[in-house]
């Protein structure tokens, strides 16, 4: 067989690495595509080095991993390339929705408390799914044996459902007993009592500066 030119060698090595199913080591290149062509390791090294340089400005790069050489997309493109693969996640189960609603309406709440209400255990998978979706998060731990996590909904949860605050969630109608009117009166009474209490306190000078300090967290209080 005629000797390969430098360009031919580069082409063969380049194409081989691109079409192989696995990274290709220099040994593998020599024993397969370059078999019988008597290419010195020095020449092969040179070809690989040149290819690495050729691809440096491109969207993919020639890199060496433990089992050999392969082409791989550039770091900075990962964000866009991820969009090539989209998976439709399965619909949420009833158990998940019930758990979410309990966390929304009864927060902060522990897993045990959710289980008490639902009468069945809450799978870790559900908590994980809700956490990954950034709808719930742990806001503390209840000081009872086991220090269970206290779950609450996030701002992301409110954004998703298009409400400004939890108070804007639909009222929980089924919760028996008190007719609406009575409830409202009760609430008003409660507010009034507390408001009066607070009004009678004088806000100290100090607290003004404390409030300023709290500045960055302001939106979290809403």
């Amino acid at each position: 067989m005629a000797r390969l030119t430098h360009e031919q060698l580069k082409q063969i090595v380049e194409a081989a690495i691109f079409v192989a199913d696995q990274p290709l080591s220099k040994e593998k290149l020599q024993s397969t595509v370059l078999d019988g062509l008597k290419v010195s390791n020095k020449k092969l090294d040179a070809a690989l080095a040149e290819l690495t340089l050729d691809y440096a400005p491109r969207g993919i790069q020639l890199i060496e991993v433990s089992s050999g050489f392969r082409f791989q997309s550039v770091d900075s493109l990962s964000h866009w390339l991820s969009k090539l693969w989209q998976e439709q996640a399965p619909r949420y189960s009833r158990a998940l929705l019930e758990t979410l609603s309990l966390i929304a309406y009864r927060q902060p709440i522990t897993r045990g408390e959710i289980e008490d209400v639902r009468g069945v255990s809450v799978s870790s998978h559900i908590i994980k799914t809700l956490t990954e979706r950034e709808w719930i998060k742990v806001v503390g731990h209840k000081e009872v044996p086991g220090r269970p996590s206290l779950y609450a909904t996030t701002k992301g949860f409110l954004d998703y459902f298009g409400v400004k605050s939890l108070a804007d969630l639909p009222p929980m109608q089924t919760i028996e007993v008190l007719p609406e009117l009575e409830q409202q009166q009760q609430d008003e009474q409660r507010l009034k009592t507390v408001a009066e209490q607070i009004e009678s306190d004088t806000v100290s000078q100090d607290s003004a500066s404390d409030l300023a300090e709290l500045g960055p967290n302001k939106e979290q209080l809403h």
Partner: protein
């Protein structure tokens, strides 16, 4: 017939007759085809059917299809078919059909022409010629298709690995506010069935505020009591915060700390009584 010839022996080293027909007749093997004497059905495999065989005979004799010399072709064709009948009759059915067609064409050509029939319309070879030409066109098309550079044989897909950071994007299921409310209603109905558990009504904004205060306390060890009240929220806001703090204290989630009478009150997360849980 001798068995010593291996199928991969070159054809030129085979002086043996191709086959015996009716005990002694023999024919030459096609010059450009290698047919092992002990595997005559290869004839059938070498040709893709009677049309292919006819085409072969025509091309071999350098005949023009359009002027199909029916007599010669029929003769040669029949020789092949005789061989097939001897060896593998069941494979030869399609070839026999063609033999019948050829015989029919031959006999019609032999009949004297009638003067009153427009001869242009009635060449008995026409249909056969059309079929041969159509078949030849497809045969050539198949050869050309086979010659096209194709995957796995001539070209290979060039691919690169996605960077490790490339992760599939999950399309999350949609949930409506109504789904959420319905779920809550259903869970509450169920809860009622468990009578031992009592559900009390709570003002939602208070629960929300409880969550936020806990969050804040996760970031600060101590929070000044007053710092939690924002004048900008008005009276209602202040009340909600106050109720939330009371509720947190009641549920033993936070404690209020005052160093001395009248000094500032601080909120802190309730200390974990670590030792108590480790045993």
């Amino acid at each position: 017939m001798t068995q010593e010839s291996a199928p991969n022996k070159p054809p030129i080293q085979q002086p043996l007759p191709l086959a015996f027909v009716n005990g002694e007749a023999m024919i030459d093997k096609p010059e450009d085809l290698y047919i092992p004497p002990d595997a005559l059905e290869v004839i059938l495999e070498a040709f893709e059917g009677p049309l292919d065989l006819l085409l072969y005979l025509i091309r071999k004799q350098k005949f023009d299809i359009v002027n199909l010399p029916v007599l010669q072709i029929t003769q040669q064709y029949m020789e092949y078919v005789e061989v097939m009948k001897e060896i593998k009759l069941e494979l030869a059915a399609e070839y026999l059909l063609m033999a019948a067609i050829l015989a029919e064409v031959k006999s019609r050509l032999l009949l004297p022409k009638r003067a009153d029939v427009d001869e242009d319309e009635d060449d008995p070879r026409a249909e056969l010629i059309r079929r041969l030409q159509e078949y030849e066109a497809i045969k050539i098309a198949a050869q050309e298709m086979d010659a096209l550079p194709r995957m796995e044989r001539d070209v290979f897909t060039a691919s690169a690995e996605p960077n490790e950071q490339v992760a599939p994007i999950k399309i999350q299921p949609e949930v409506s506010l109504q789904d959420l409310v319905l779920a809550f209603q259903s869970v509450m109905k169920k809860a009622k069935a468990f009578e031992h558990h009592q559900i009390e009504r709570e003002v939602l904004s208070t629960r929300e505020r409880m969550s936020r205060i806990l969050e804040l306390l996760n970031n600060h060890n101590y929070l000044g009591f007053e710092t939690l009240f924002l004048v900008s929220e008005g009276k209602a806001g202040v009340v909600v915060t106050f109720l939330a703090i009371l509720e947190l204290v009641k549920e033993s989630l936070v404690e209020l700390v005052q160093a001395q009478p009248f000094s500032q009150i601080h909120l802190k997360l309730r200390e974990a009584e670590e030792d108590a849980w480790q045993g």
